[in-house]
Amino acid sequence: MKNLVRYLCFMAIGISAFANPLEPINLFRLGFGALAGLLFGWLFRIFLRSFLSLFNGKLKKEKGKVVIRNAVDSGMLFLTPFAVMMLIAVYYLNWSETRGFVSAGIMAVGTAAAIEMGRVNRRSKLP
């Protein structure tokens, strides 16, 4: 379920970013946007996992890579409101400027993943 939500969010982001306000339903743009969004999502996920691994080496050694992967995947869910708002902005409000949604979404995902890591860290330190 988490994976499906993540894929849909990044597809929505890509589609919105490449949408043309004069021709919103262009199949080529929709397809290209969805693919570009998925590629961006894949790169972002790798980046976030590497970044968290870099600063949580001890925890990764103790609990394995799965801790980092779970934190990143949970954090990625935070992208949902931003992806939906971006679709509303592009397809309902006819905005063409959507960079703010992507940057705010990325910030929220990063914060959420870091909070998740903090939680795991605290739990592992409990006697």
């Binding site: 949970s74 869910l77 935070f78 949902t80 409101p81 931003f82 939906v84 708002m85 509303i88 902005a89 309902y92 409000l93 400027e97 703010g100 949604f101 705010a104 910030m107 929220a108 914060t111 959420a112 909070i115």
Partner: protein, 184 residues
């Protein structure tokens, strides 16, 4: 972790930077009506800057700037707490045990980031003549989504299943309602 008293100023910046850590203390040390003041000021500044942008481009008179500010304050004072009550109802239906004041306070305080962005936007708008309603106003409201998800998650005992759909709906409602207002 023991809860400590903190000022409203600390709460506003804390909710922006570390909402999960701040919320517990904020619910103890911040009165519910001060939380509503935070959302009222945040939306007053956001809507006020929308009026200011339209005034600068000659589309509206100065009276519209004042009207926008007042409409924003009313929005933050009535609509946002009402949405908070709606969220409390949803949480109650899903067997949550939080009080209505706690839920409304948390929800209103999640707009702390929007308030900080609003103040910064007003400074840039007045001092440098920038058009700030989208760059600062919308960004502030977007920034509020993260703390909102975390606030609702804390109220539901750490579950994302309710916090993310609720925040998505609220974000959409706020965006559409502001857009309708700015096109009046």
């Amino acid at each position: 972790m023991e809860a400590t008293k903190q000022s409203l100023f600390q709460t506003i910046f804390g909710m922006m930077i570390n909402p999960a850590g701040t919320l517990k203390n904020a619910l103890i040390s911040t009165k519910w009506y001060l939380s509503i003041v935070v959302s009222a000021l945040a939306f007053g500044l956001f809507f006020g800057q929308t009026g200011l942008d339209l005034y600068k481009t000659g589309q509206k008179g100065f009276d519209f700037v004042l009207l926008s500010g007042a409409a924003g304050i009313a929005y933050g004072l009535l609509v946002i707490p009402l949405l908070g009550i709606l969220i409390w109802t949803v949480l109650k239906l899903s067997k949550g045990d939080r009080k209505v004041k706690e839920t409304v306070s948390s929800f209103c305080l999640s707009y702390s980031g929007a308030l900080v962005y609003g103040v910064a936007g007003l400074i840039f708008s007045l001092a440098l003549g920038w058009k700030t309603s989208v760059a600062f106003g919308v960004t502030g409201v977007l920034w509020a989504i993260g703390p909102m998800i975390i606030a609702i998650r804390e109220l539901t005992g750490g579950k994302n299943t309710l916090s993310i759909p609720i925040s998505t709906v609220v974000g959409g409602v706020v965006l559409i309602s502001w857009s309708v207002f700015s096109n009046l």
